[in-house]
């Protein structure tokens, strides 16, 4: 699993870890019930604080992606396809928000945006 931490990113480090682990779960690089690295190990390997990794793991657990078994460690929870999809939709919505913000501030119409979207999306298929 790749976890790439950017220090200059505006995204907090714990968020970056969360994203990387989620991505590995979505792409099935991390299988159901597969053990995650221990908090301390991951902190040392990424040269970051234990608290940062703990925050990422705690939030992943709250969101239902992983579960933690006391004294054993954390592992990938039973995958919930709906949850993953919802997660991806949220991400897409964030980008759409940005598109709306830019288009409004520069007077680009909804029609133009939709046309561009269709053009680019179509080309991809």
């Amino acid at each position: 699993m790749d976890i790439i931490i950017s220090n200059s990113s505006n995204q907090p480090i714990f968020e970056q870890i969360k994203q990387a682990i989620k991505k590995a779960i979505v792409t099935d690089e991390l299988k159901e019930n597969e053990m995650l690295p221990s908090i301390r190990n991951l902190a040392q390997d990424l040269r970051i604080s234990v608290m940062t990794v703990k925050r990422a793991y705690d939030e992943l657990e709250q969101e239902g992606f992983i579960k933690t078994i006391h004294g054993k460690g954390s592992l990938v929870a039973t995958k919930n396809i709906e949850l993953l999809k919802e997660e991806q939709m949220k991400e897409i919505e964030r980008y759409i928000d940005k598109i709306i913000l830019i288009s409004k501030s520069s007077n680009i119409s909804k029609k133009e945006i939709l046309e561009t979207f269709e053009y680019l999306f179509g080309e991809d298929e």
Binding site: N41, A43, R47
Partner: protein, 287 residues
Amino acid sequence: MENILEIRNLCKKYNGFELQNVNITLPKGMIMGFIGENGAGKTTTIKAILDIIKNYTGEIKIFGLDNRKDEKKIKEDIGVVLDDMFFPEILTPNDINSVMKDIYKNWDSELYFKYLTDFALPKTKAIKTLSKGMRKKLEIAVAISHHPKLLILDEPTAGLDPIARNEVIDIFQGFIQNEECSIFISSHITSDLEHIADYITFINAGKIILSKTREELLEDYGIVKCSKEEFEKIDKSDFIKYKKCKYEYEILVENRKIFSRKYSINTIDRVTLENLMVLMIKGEKEC
């Protein structure tokens, strides 16, 4: 015992300087960065923890034990690096091994020599011939070779080049792989602490002015930059400190996200320990 170090209402008076009601709590398995200007009271606090200054008041508990009554027992499990080297300069690293063997029950010669090799330190050269960086590395090797549970480090990376600092930080992180172990590390080189410290405690003019987790400080806190007009619209209760610069106002806020929901100001940066220190000390707050 969940906390490895607990300081309650520590006070110490010198001529012209006073530590005032210092409270610090360091849980097991964590690294605490202790930051502040030169002369803010970092070294005095550390010396009180180690009971090497006298006439201080307050309570200091290490491993749940009193630092004065149980000094002998506690010191077996503490590793220390102080600002000034405490070995006679004519000794060699080899000699230090013989000395330390008699001092600590748990002294591990094998581990000590392994660190000497890792740090590329000569075994048979007198300390006085070693460079400043080499001496620091030697002190660190000595501090961790008796398997302590708490490391107390006063400016351990001062005088080290970036490569050596990197090596040293690796060792510190390796040290807390054991969740029973903690590190209390003072430094004014804040970049060293920004990533690895779990807690940041900030002392200024003898008082603790901030003690938070790294996550709260470096991810949630923010520095807002705005114009005078924008600044005047902000509620005084929504920021901690502000500084008026030539072209802008800099404002320290406790939570970037909450602030940006309330105000439409675009520039909100994350803090670095360095600009946090500057704003906390030089910033103003009128109520």
